[in-house]
């Protein structure tokens, strides 16, 4: 059934379809619509979940951790400062292997205070052990809530997952979304059944103090879980495609990459606009292609090396800055492509919610094509930034 709804509404419907047990909530723009929709569902008896209004985001994640440890399927959503306020508990939940799903509506992390789209909130927690997936439209937002629970609760993974959607560009934009049937979701996503949980009938110790004799093994184990998530993500992507007819490509998606000479790697909604730009440039005879970086954790190094093996230059879009020079995606991709001789060019744009236009994306391709032709270009380019020449 197609509904014309916002990204936040799509996410809330996704959570409802997943039959979550507990939703600890705290409002923050631009995710507030998510928990408001869920509050309505619960109030109207459409959703059988415990809706907890907490006094802070730190408490939200604490409650989420406790509920998940007790065997509940837990969903919540946050954004920006709210995510930052959870920082401590994010680092507590992943190594404890609690499969919580939390949507982050990407928003500027102050200062300076701002409410518009930027990726530096979720990028700041990229080493917490949470898996992260960045979506490009409302359909993918809904579908990835469902897939995230499957990935998170897979015994080979058991990690929390954070689907990230661009604040306002998706959260407050309506577009048609195909809402899956409840019975299809039920058969795709079986009930959560952890091996060990907090149950008075069968006492367990979770989150216990650990000396140096154990923590290194626990970190290694968590790393192994993140690593094995790669295979699980691909499997679940394929199964989802079979059941629901929508294939997102797995860890990355590619567009017109078969014979591409130059590629742009994008995240989030800029991917969507870039699809049209690629078509336009192709019509003009330029052999360009697009790689959509969907999962940032686990980082799809192998998939990227494969997808980018034939190109003469790679452009990387970043919607956040890591203060050593370029953006986080640029850093990771340079590291992933180590040993390959292809030039990698960083394109910073859309920071602080500034609109990323087709013209800017064309510019990104033009600079990258120059690099591919052996011309000297800046490795890091701030697009549409006063005082910078691009």
């Amino acid at each position: 059934m197609k509904k014309v709804i916002t990204g936040d509404h799509a996410v809330a419907l996704g959570a409802k379809l997943c039959r979550v047990d507990v939703v600890p909530a705290y409002p923050i723009t631009p995710q507030t619509l998510i928990i408001e929709h869920i509050a309505d569902f619960v109030n109207d008896g459409e959703m059988d979940a415990k809706f907890l209004t907490m006094e802070s985001e730190h408490s939200v994640m604490s409650a989420a951790a406790a509920a998940s440890a007790a065997g509940a399927r837990v969903f919540t959503a946050t954004s920006s400062q709210g995510l930052a306020f959870m920082y401590e508990m994010l680092y507590a939940t992943a190594p404890l292997r609690l499969p919580i799903v939390m949507v982050n509506a990407n928003r500027t992390l102050g200062g300076p205070p701002g409410i518009w789209c930027e990726h530096n909130d979720s990028m700041g927690v990229r080493d917490s052990g949470w898996l992260q997936v960045y979506v490009e439209d409302n359909q993918e937002a809904l579908d990835m809530v469902i897939q995230s629970f499957r990935i998170a609760e897979d015994k080979r993974v058991l990690l929390p997952v954070m689907p990230c959607l661009d604040g306002f560009v998706l959260t407050h934009t309506v577009e048609p979304v195909d809402v899956p049937q409840q019975e299809d979701v039920d058969s795709f996503l079986p009930a959560f059944a952890p091996d060990i949980m907090l149950d008075p009938a069968r006492p367990a110790m979770m989150g216990i103090f650990m000396p140096a004799e154990y923590i290194m093994e626990l970190r290694r184990q968590t790393m192994g879980a993140v690593e094995s998530a790669k295979k699980v993500i691909r499997e679940i992507n394929d199964e989802f495609a079979r059941v629901f007819g929508r294939n997102y490509g797995g860890m990355i998606d590619t567009y017109m990459m078969e014979d591409a000479e130059v590629a742009l790697v994008t995240m989030g909604t800029v991917t969507s606009t870039s699809r049209e730009v690629v078509e336009e440039l192709r019509k003009a005879g330029k052999k360009v292609g697009l790689v959509k970086l969907r999962f940032f954790r686990p980082f799809p190094s192998e998939d990227l090396r494969k997808a980018l093996s034939g190109v003469s230059a790679v452009g990387v879009f970043d919607r956040s800055i890591s203060y050593h020079g370029g953006g986080p995606a640029f850093n990771e991709i340079q590291s992933a492509l180590y040993g390959m001789t292809v030039p990698v060019i960083n394109h910073l744009a859309g920071i602080g919610g500034r609109d990323v236009t087709r013209e800017q994306i064309i510019k990104m391709f033009e600079i990258t094509i120059k690099a591919g032709n052996g011309e000297k270009v800046n490795p890091i380019n701030w697009h549409n930034t006063r005082g910078e020449t691009v």
Binding site: P203, M205, M206, Q221
Partner: protein, 299 residues
């Protein structure tokens, strides 16, 4: 380079001893570092501290595995810990003990100095904090530092934190112990089995380190496994309750950090499970009617 490993129990001042020894070495124109190793610390639990002394700057930031000297602040540790592990050939051991060196079995025959530091500390400091007394014995046994340097170091470190008076008493404790130290050779008969520890590989460790009740070759793990960790051996003192004075206010039951005081509801009485009493004295301190007295556990 001269390396020292201190074995003590939380509260006996092993860390302060290691630091004071380093200070004394620096007073004599050497370079020295001292550092603790903390486990899941609480009063009475076995602790480690280390001191390295050299004539030039020390760069090594690792623990000490082959000490030149081992200092034991509490001889009850000898029952459970192989204190001479890694001791360098020709090394020595300094032990707080009432026994003669010849009567102490360390598993190897080695130069051993003993002093009854607990009695010295109780007499002079009025508390079983044995760190300064044992340092007096260390100075006497090893000759690595002079007694005067040690007393100066005690004055500086203790004076700064606890005042001149306490520093002087600690200085006296070191001097007294220095005079009472007996040097001999230990017995080398017993074979101390290394303590078994559950050390799973990262694949064997349950996801997230979450544990349910379980049994391994190294003993119980998970909820309830603490039943195997008897701590009665830690105690210098143990509490004795006077039933006549006791008003059953239950403050001792509430404050006991180990949960060893058990309420016997049918008799309206209390019982202390000495297996898990580490003799910290919190109960005696909290008792509003002085019904609990602390008495020496090992005489």
């Amino acid at each position: 380079m001269f390396e020292v490993r201190f074995h003590g129990r939380g509260g006996q001042g092993a860390v302060m001893a290691a630091q004071t020894l380093a200070e004394a070495a620096v007073i004599e124109g050497n370079y020295a570092v001292a550092f603790p190793f903390f486990g899941a610390e609480r009063r009475g639990a076995p602790v480690l501290a280390f001191t390295r002394i050299d004539s030039k700057k020390i760069y090594s930031k690792t623990q000490i595995y082959s000490p030149d000297c081992v200092v034991v602040l509490d001889d009850s540790l000898l029952d459970t810990i192989d204190v001479v592990a890694g001791l360098k050939p020709g090394g020595s051991v300094v032990i707080n003990s009432r026994d003669k060196p010849e009567d102490i079995d360390l598993g190897i025959s080695v130069k051993t100095a003993v002093v009854d530091a607990t009695s010295v500390a109780l007499e002079i400091l009025k508390a079983p904090i044995t760190n300064t007394a044992i340092l007096g014995a260390f100075a006497r046994a090893t000759g690595i530092i002079k007694l005067e340097s040690l007393e100066e170091a005690i004055k500086r470190r203790f004076g700064e934190k606890l005042g001149e008076k306490i520093a002087e008493r600690n200085s006296l404790a070191a001097r007294t112990a220095y005079g009472k130290t007996v040097i001999g050779t230990s017995k080398g008969i017993k074979k101390l089995e290394p303590k078994k520890q559950w050390l799973p590989t990262y694949q064997e460790l349950p996801a997230g380190g979450s544990l349910i009740e379980g049994k391994t070759d190294a003993g119980l793990i998970g909820p309830g496994s603490f039943i195997e960790n008897k701590v009665s051996g830690w105690a210098t003192f143990r509490p004795l309750r006077d039933r006549e004075k006791c008003t059953m206010c239950l403050l001792c039951w509430f404050y006991c950090p180990e949960g060893t005081i058990v309420r016997i509801s049918d008799r309206g009485d209390l019982m202390t499970n000495y297996d898990y009493c580490k003799g910290c004295g919190v109960c005696a301190n909290e008792c509003p009617v002085d019904a609990i007295k602390m008495v020496r556990a090992r005489v």
